[in-house]
Symmetry: C2
């Protein structure tokens, strides 16, 4: 028997299971069986012929055709509110890795500016027979839940809860993170705490963090606490609020509810000419690569983003394998990264 040629290097019509069958002198069914249930029912000699033919032709099955036939596509859909958000990307990265390891590919849909297109995204993805969905969105699209239900495919929510969606939920322990941050500021001697957040309306993550902050302050009589909702277009408002905070004459500190807010607070503090850790204590939720570089270094709560992505995928895969339990909640703890922005208030 002469050695078989290497996989054809020329572009051409797709090599199909029929080509392999012909070359091996067997039927298509035999080839298919070799591919799917290699172990059972196969004469070694035939198996070898098929194997050789596959190698010779450089055959690989068409996932499209397989999907059409078995209704499973080895595809997972990921809907992201905003790919520009580093948090989303970090999660995405973990999810993508886990998918690849499990032999799945990720189809990405970015909502960009308008969260209203969530339903559209879900349907577009579903039409490609994605086997499951990972949603990292605001959940503001009324139709989304219905769209998901209609598809009857498993869904896992990351970071944001959706009011009326039955699904697994994977997220940072928001309450714990807020407590951890506030607790750290307290330990460091800061006693007038301002929680700065993006507008909370309808966003579970922000609400949970804020509620935990208030509860924490409520449980510690020596602390004074307040919340400020910072709008993107109102830098002046934030600056004024910081002024008021410091004017109260206690030991003032800010707890930023996420990286976007951290950026805004840094900007305001720079304009005010204040120094973190001196004029103002600071802890921000979300670790960033630049946190060590701003001012004396920013104390942060790091989210286990990679783990979140991986866990989200893991949940989904379990469901795909038939796991049938009520919706689960997986809350992962944050990690306090201490830098100088929260250095002891008494040191000033």
């Amino acid at each position: 028997m002469s050695p078989t040629p290497p996989p054809s290097p020329v572009a051409g019509p797709r090599v199909t299971i029929a080509d392999v069958a012909e070359k091996a002198g067997v039927s298509k069914a035999t080839v298919s069986r070799f591919l799917n249930r290699r172990d059972e029912l196969l004469t070694p000699e035939i198996a070898q012929r098929v194997e050789a033919a596959i190698a010779a032709l450089g055959y690989s099955p068409s996932p499209m055709a397989q999907a059409l036939k078995r209704g499973r596509s080895r595809l997972i859909g990921l809907v992201v509110a905003d790919v520009t958000n580093p948090y989303s990307v970090a999660v995405l990265r973990g999810a993508e890795k886990a998918c690849q390891e499990a032999g799945y590919l990720l189809m990405l849909f970015n909502l960009g500016d308008d969260g209203q297109r969530e339903r559209e995204a879900i349907e577009a993805l579903a039409s490609y027979q994605v086997e499951g969905l990972i949603l990292n969105t605001l959940g503001r699209d009324e139709g989304a839940a219905a769209a998901v239900a209609r598809q009857g495919r498993p869904v896992v929510l990351v970071d944001r809860r959706h009011a009326d969606m039955q699904a697994d939920f994977v997220s940072l322990d928001n309450a714990g993170a807020a407590r951890m941050a506030a607790g750290h500021l307290r330990e460091q001697g800061w006693d007038d705490l301002l929680f700065v957040t993006e507008p909370m309306a309808g966003v579970s993550t922000r609400q949970e963090r804020e509620a935990a902050f208030r509860a924490f302050v409520g449980g510690h009589p020596e602390l004074h606490g307040a919340t400020f909702e910072s709008a993107a277009d109102d830098a002046a408002g934030l600056e004024a609020e910081l002024r008021r905070l410091r004017a109260r004459g206690r030991r003032p500190a800010v707890l930023a509810s996420n990286a976007v807010i951290t950026l805004r607070v840094c900007d305001a503090v720079a304009r005010l000419g204040w120094r973190f850790g001196h004029d103002l204590g600071f802890v921000g939720i979300d670790e960033t690569e630049w946190a060590p570089l701003v001012g004396p270094g920013l104390t942060t709560i790091a989210q286990p983003t990679d783990a979140l992505g991986r866990l989200a995928t893991a949940c989904l895969l379990e469901r795909l394998q038939g796991l049938d339990v009520p919706p689960r909640q997986i809350l992962l703890p944050g990690r306090l990264v201490v830098r100088r922005s929260s250095a002891r208030a008494s040191d000033q």
Copy 2:
């Protein structure tokens, strides 16, 4: 005629073209024609019946089946060296937007750590019949070019050239950006310039920037210039190099070849206790959200990332529509964002 019920809200087997045909009392072929070539050859009355049936059933075609039949999938594959890289993400965002507008969906493959899997990525994506590929990778996988050629599908390269790949190329004008940065430092009176880059071996982007920097310095006798390749694990080396630079007693400035290097330089400068714009001039290629916040604010060259992504997609779509011209190069200019890190050297 009674009003048709809304799209079925229950999960169930997919509604197919056959269901529509039956409900409308026509053949599948007719429905298909209505869908694809609505205008020609259709009795208004029949068209209406079909339209009504489609609405009643909430039918939408299966892209999978369509792909199988026509060999076109409305899918575009995106291979990214590292989703963690903000530059890649920014490009990804532009590309994704353009894809959606054109009715395409993006399949994402992240190489993560090992750039050796490029071939694997291309083949995985190709097996899903992606109509074209956008590659933002290092091009270190020998097999990649061959894999692309074999698929016979259009490809566009973003940011990184690949030695032996025939493809459109979309990128920042690297040489122009380096000149712009060096020119700005020179105008501001800095005259001892250090170009800091990640190891250049085999990465076109880095090489082009460095070459343009050297050429610029060569053309200006009053300038002294040097290049330093900074490895991720050699913070000490960078610090030592900066010390030497300043020890020469001229007006020293750093040109960081990308955001990763900017981060490293900031870190080193913080450890040295130097002040940007005073002890050291600085311009970095790549604008970041945190550039305004570090030290006195970092001067940067902003890349038109969104435009790059959109253009890459546009190139691909043109090819898909049959455009047949030799590989093109599209180079977009950077934009200088002046902040205080490059303030006049003579001011110190």
